[in-house]
């Protein structure tokens, strides 16, 4: 028998699910949509993804080295941020856009607030919104070799109905990773099956959004209008991959329903009443800011005090 035994407080066993594994699963789940983006828009999209991911990871590494903190790039969270950010860029955006966005996302939104788990806003979306405000013309120019002209959502806003089948498959213009509803849903199913995400937030988000645009969209309950809104823009990518970001969504069950509903309403307001066709990014980051408040009012009741059934 060895001389020294390990001693610790209970429990003495741990599940084999780790943060790294979860982040890696998210990266894998994003691959169908990312791959479709490269197929749809060409190699430049791939370069943008690479440069954005590298910028994110290097920013985290340099920050931690400079401040003599523990290096955490092995947890893949910066890779997730980089990939998500790149998927939110226009396909022909210059490479430096990816660098600027990546540095902002990791340095300002994540690291300055304390690193993984402490950021109050989704870093990828924070980065995207920073770019949208700062470099509006680049970020809203979706012209590329394959497509010119307005995105399907912009067409919808202008009053024409886009080709819905193309939107579902993804053969349309838009940001690199948002166009293919099918590819995004495949990745989302993978995460749901693994238990990494569930339908509470995406489900409430989508249902609330559909209700909102049915009432306020001016088309009533028009399936063509609704499906174009669902398949168009960043809704699917946002609902399944960004609204579900652990760090920036409420941790309470009830809070997650409230959060989903809030995002549905905000997205509806921005898309229907706002000047831009898009609205998902802003809806989610505003939702992120309200998370502490939502959690405060949705704390579960303890077992024996009314919480035993939920």
């Amino acid at each position: 028998m060895s001389d020294m035994l390990k001693v610790s407080s209970n429990p003495h066993v741990r599940s084999n699910v780790t943060t790294n594994a979860i982040m890696l699963a998210v990266v894998i789940a994003l691959l169908p949509a990312a791959g479709f983006g490269i197929y749809n828009f060409g190699l430049h999209a791939l370069f943008l993804m690479i440069i954005t991911i590298v910028s994110c990871v290097l920013t985290e590494l340099i920050y931690e080295k400079a401040l003599k903190k523990e290096v955490t790039i092995g947890d893949f969270s910066a890779v997730v941020t980089g990939l998500l950010l790149a998927m939110n860029l226009p396909p022909m955006a210059p490479l430096w856009i990816g660098v600027v966005g990546g540095v902002f996302a990791i340095l300002v939104v994540k690291m300055l607030f304390g690193g993984l788990g402490q950021n109050f806003m989704n870093p990828a979306l924070g980065g995207r919104c920073f770019l949208l405000i700062s470099f509006t013309s680049i970020m809203t120019n979706f012209d590329c070799d394959a497509y010119t002209g307005a995105t399907p959502l912009a067409q919808l806003k202008a009053g024409t109905t886009p080709d819905i089948l193309k939107m579902i498959i993804g053969n349309t213009s838009g940001t690199i990773g948002e166009t293919s509803m099918i590819a995004i849903v495949i990745g989302a199913c993978f995460l749901i099956l693994l238990g990494v995400i569930d339908l509470k937030i995406p489900g409430t988000y989508i249902v609330t959004f559909v209700l909102f645009i049915s009432i306020f969209g001016g088309h009533g309950f028009d399936p063509a209008f609704i499906s174009a809104h669902l398949a168009g823009g960043g809704l699917m990518l946002g609902a399944f991959f960004m609204a579900t970001d652990y760090v920036t969504r409420p941790i309470t069950k009830k809070g997650q329903y409230v959060f989903g509903a809030l995002l549905g309403i905000l997205t509806g307001v921005f898309r229907i009443f706002g000047p831009s066709a898009e609205g998902v990014s802003y809806a989610i980051i505003i939702g992120n800011l309200l998370v502490p408040l939502i959690e405060k009012f949705t704390l579960p009741k303890a077992f024996g005090k009314g919480g035993e059934h939920v």
């Binding site: 028998m1 429990p11 066993v13 741990r14 699910v17 941790i251 704390l299 303890a302």
Partner: protein, 438 residues
């Protein structure tokens, strides 16, 4: 009616296959026996023997001091060698009576009682009290107190906790398979105390043979039923099992009796049976000695006071170097730094593992994934409680109902960032409870 389970919980690797088919084997102690005076909740027992006294097996060596307390009996014949502080499983030193075993096992004459049907309720409760029976599932609460609620007529259910939800443990399972009549007999004695109560044997579904056997043996008992429960940890936690069997929910400031329930674990009920039908005090218990470091994992019937070293020897010793040794199960047991501790009334297992998840996995930042919230059987928010605990923030801790934590370990188990949630909440709880007592 109840849905056979509770909300939350986890499914850890259960390790029961190592020892579940090994029949209970008796262990005769060779070395000294050590009886900590505090192996129950409440005031430590007071020794009534002194150094040099000769004692017989079954002789009382320490008596209860105060209402919440329990007497202790010698489990071998021999000589009192010392009354001194000895190390126990919690790593503390506790005043203990040490008896040198003379190897003769001379017994006292046990009292002969009338059949339990003819005993009065007070007599039964007194027999259980005198026998030193305490909750043997781990808590060690003196059983006679549970058996004397304020309003015995309002007890609707006596629940035999046969869940055995802790991984690796098979002691209750072997008892159910090998001596089910004692379990049922003990339950009948308990039902004698409560005129309006029904008995429920609540067993997890991972023990289908035990369920079938108990069902067969109780088919002519109108007052006793078998309730299969979903296999999930911590199904056997008192509040969880009451909810799973009756649909009633209590919180920390209520007793099971407030929900019309009395809950006792398998070995405790068998101890009641021994006390009432055979006049024998609590002297032994079943201990599962198991884990991947043990050569021959087994279930032993062990005399209280037997040194853990002897149990390891009986199980063939180690086949690999253990890295962690746990008294009890992996979820709620105590890690030992030294095997030189005695078996107490509440020791259900001795688990020897060649790998320690806790030191192998480094805690990282909380990503607020919410898995701890999902699994908490008390329906709390463990990650927020951990932050409050680390900050010593008593107000937030109480607002988040931290005192409702049952320390089951689900949050730490499930945490992908491997954070010691249970540990920090547990220590904060201790401080808060101490403040409350003042």
């Amino acid at each position: 009616m109840a849905r056979s389970t509770f909300v939350g919980g986890i499914h850890p690797y259960d390790g029961k296959e190592l020892s579940k088919d090994k029949p209970i084997k008796a262990v005769l102690p060779k070395g000294d026996l050590v009886y900590p005076l505090s192996q129950h909740i409440g005031a430590p027992a007071t020794p009534i023997v002194k150094k040099g006294d000769h004692v017989l097996q079954g002789q009382k060596i320490a008596e209860a001091s105060g209402f919440v307390s329990a007497p202790i009996y010698a489990t071998v014949s021999g000589t009192v060698k010392a009354i001194e502080p000895r190390r126990v499983v919690t790593s503390n030193e506790v005043m203990s009576i040490v008896i040198e075993n003379d190897g003769l096992y001379e017994e006292v004459d046990y009292p002969k009682y009338k059949p339990y049907e003819e005993l009065s309720k007070e007599e039964i409760v007194n027999i259980v009290k005198e026998a030193g029976v305490v909750g043997m599932g781990g808590a060690g609460f003196p059983t006679f107190i549970k058996l004397s609620p304020k309003e015995p007529d309002k007890i609707d259910y006596v629940i035999a906790n046969c869940a055995e939800c802790e991984p690796y443990l098979t002691s209750d399972y072997r008892r159910m398979i090998e001596e089910p009549e004692k379990l049922i007999g003990g339950l009948k004695i308990m039902l004698r105390l409560f005129d309006n109560a029904k008995g429920i044997l609540a067993v997890e579904e991972n023990k289908p043979d035990a369920i079938a056997l108990l069902k067969k043996l109780t088919k002519d008992e109108p007052n006793i039923s078998v309730k299969p429960l979903k296999t999930k940890y911590p199904q056997g936690a008192e509040r969880a099992i009451i909810f799973a069997t009756t649909g009633r929910a209590i919180h920390s400031s209520k007793l099971p009796a407030d929900a019309g329930c009395i809950v006792d674990n398998v070995d405790t009920i068998v101890a009641i049976y021994h006390a009432v039908t055979e006049g024998k005090p609590l002297m032994n218990r079943i201990v599962t000695v198991t884990g991947d470091a043990i050569k021959d994992p087994r279930n032993f019937i062990v005399r209280i006071g037997t040194n853990y070293h002897e149990l390891i020897e009986e199980a063939g010793g180690f086949k690999k170097d253990p890295v962690k040794i746990i008294s009890g199960g992996p979820m709620m047991g105590f890690a030992l730094f030294d095997l030189d501790v005695p078996t107490t009334k509440t020791a259900s297992a001795l688990l020897c593992l060649t790998k320690d998840d806790v030191s192998d996995m480094k805690p990282t930042a909380c990503i607020k994934c919410g898995r701890c919230v999902e699994v908490c059987p008390s329906r709390l928010v463990p990650n927020k409680l951990m932050v409050a605990s680390l900050h010593g923030d008593s107000e937030t801790f109480r607002k988040l109902d931290g005192l409702e934590c049952v320390e089951c370990g689900c949050c730490s188990f499930t945490c992908p960032a491997k954070r010691p949630l249970t540990q920090s909440i547990k220590s904060m709880r201790k401080m808060e409870l101490a403040k409350k007592k003042k």
